[in-house]
């Protein structure tokens, strides 16, 4: 390639290749960022529709939710959250087992409790 032609053309072949490489690199970066944040991260506890507590799904903990006439024991363990004990009549919350994905919920209707996993 002569000095003359590279002066004439503002964009040459290498620029185009580099441009494409840049786009691919950008797309990779975007995908890496997107996929590293897919896992649920926060556990939100709602009492009668009001957010009362938030925990990280990564930190193992046990929390006792207290309602007017009873309680539910909420356990966060190994990146999962579940209700281990409850004194509600139907035990639907206990039987629901473990959740971990974004948007999943455990609900105890008698105690007006919603446990939600959020990004």
């Amino acid at each position: 390639m002569s000095e003359e032609s590279s002066k004439k053309r503002l964009i040459n072949k290498f620029d185009i290749i580099l441009f494409i490489l840049l786009i691919i690199l950008g797309a990779c970066a975007f995908l890496i960022i997107k996929f590293t944040r897919a896992e649920g991260k926060t556990v939100n506890i709602y009492s009668d529709g009001e957010l009362t507590e938030s925990f990280s799904l990564d930190d193992d903990t046990e929390y006792v939710y207290i309602w007017e006439d009873g309680n539910n024991v909420i356990v966060i363990e190994n990146g999962y959250v579940y209700v281990s004990h409850a004194d509600c009549p139907d035990k639907v919350c206990v039987n629901q087992g473990e959740i971990k994905n974004d948007g999943e919920t455990i609900v105890c209707i008698p105690h007006r409790l919603v446990i939600e996993v959020d990004e």
């Binding site: 620029d15 944040r37 926060t42 529709g49 639907v92």
Partner: protein
């Protein structure tokens, strides 16, 4: 050559800058979400307990969080009022409870407009389904006591005797209920006339759907662009999502827990339109006695929990009350008979039978995606 080296350096520098910015944006958005709990730009989610069940509302739009929150609050309080003032047989002050206590056989009883509208639509499904849906089932439901049974009490569940069931059944029958509509200068007035004493109206099988229809009115009034609202087993997709993507409504695995879906229905957003999806299944409430499972959806014909071979039915149509009522009716009727009922209401359905066969009606076939390979699509 020198020029190329400069441009490569510039591009690498630009890429590194972009990456740093991207990581910074990701971090700051993470902390944002932690602080404002249930609000992401253009999308607001709220949980409420209404009608003895729970409701999830996700409202889409460019409005501020306050405005979306206000709409969600309004919908929740209106649905509570609909239940307590009109439909609930439990609430002493509701139209239905007062009707059940006060009506005199063969005499017209005044209904408010809302209750009248609900009973009118529900009674229509009772007739076309020939009693597979029946809004007078309260005595039989009470006789079984499946809904009230408290597992924690430690008491064993006892199946009612044939005589007890016969006695309860004699106080049921939608055909004994007449709705009278009077139209005066464009105003509609409803009366109800029940031909026998000792009956009672129970709108439990259509209440959640009626709640969705009421929510729809509010969404329209408030000029909301899109929403996804679920009340118990009934869900409404309204308008469009902010990002233009389809609504995806999971169909629960009848043998799994509440977060376990066996497939989903994709519903394209449509400005100002609603699509309602209601599921009825024996898994919602059941008891066990002597090794037998008794679920809560009763068949008036047999007086026992319905035994049509289905373990869940999902009905999809444009009206909330209709989808809710039809899902119960179809669950009792079974697959074959349901196929005659559904077209009367322009409704589509997904049936799951006890052999894990899934039947999807033609109109919704292309929108349904099966995700659990223990189930087989049969048609």
């Amino acid at each position: 050559m020198k020029r190329n080296i400069i441009s490569i350096t510039a591009l690498i520098f630009a890429t590194v800058c972009l990456l740093i910015i991207a990581i910074y944006v990701k971090k700051s958005s993470d902390t944002d979400e932690g602080g404002s709990n249930n609000y992401i730009a253009g999308e607001y989610t709220q949980y409420d307990f209404v009608m003895g069940t729970y409701m999830t509302q996700t409202i889409y739009g460019d409005d501020s969080q306050e405005n979306l929150n206000e709409t969600a609050e309004k919908i929740a309080s209106e649905i509570s009022a609909l239940d307590e003032d009109c439909l609930s047989w439990r609430s002493d002050t509701s139209t239905v409870a007062k009707l059940n206590n006060e009506y005199i056989a063969g005499e017209n009883y005044d209904l408010d407009l809302r209750t009248g509208n609900v009973i009118k639509k529900a009674l229509d499904i009772c007739k076309t389904s020939e009693g597979a849906l029946d809004i007078t089932m309260r005595p039989l439901i009470a006789c079984w006591g499946i809904e009230q049974y408290d597992l924690a009490s430690g008491e064993e569940f006892t199946v009612p005797s044939f005589e007890e069931l016969e006695e309860a059944k004699s106080h049921t029958g939608y055909e004994k209920v007449n709705l009278i509509t009077e139209e005066d200068a464009g105003n509609i007035k409803y009366y109800i006339n029940i031909s026998e004493s000792g009956l009672g109206i129970d709108l439990g099988a259509v209440g959640k759907g009626a709640a969705l229809d009421m929510a729809y009115e509010t969404l329209e009034e408030e000029g909301i662009s899109g929403a996804l609202i679920s009340v118990g087993g009934s869900i409404m997709a309204y308008g469009e999502k902010g990002d233009g993507s389809d609504f995806r409504i999971g169909i629960r695995n009848p043998e799994g827990d509440a977060n376990d879906v066996m497939g989903y229905v994709e519903i394209a957003g449509n400005d100002g339109q609603k699509v309602c999806v209601s599921t009825s299944g024996g898994y919602e409430k059941y008891v066990e006695a002597d090794g037998e499972v008794y679920h809560h959806i009763l068949d008036r014909e047999t007086m026992y929990p319905s035994d049509s071979g289905l373990i869940s039915v999902t009905v999809i149509c444009s009206d909330g009350l209709t989808s809710d009522g039809l899902s119960t009716a179809c669950f009792v009727l079974g697959y074959e008979k349901s196929l005659e009922l559904l077209p009367e209401y322009d409704a589509e359905a997904i049936f799951i039978d006890d052999n894990h066969n899934v039947y999807v009606t033609d109109g919704i076939y292309d929108n349904f995606v099966l995700t659990d390979d223990t189930y087989n699509i049969k048609n």
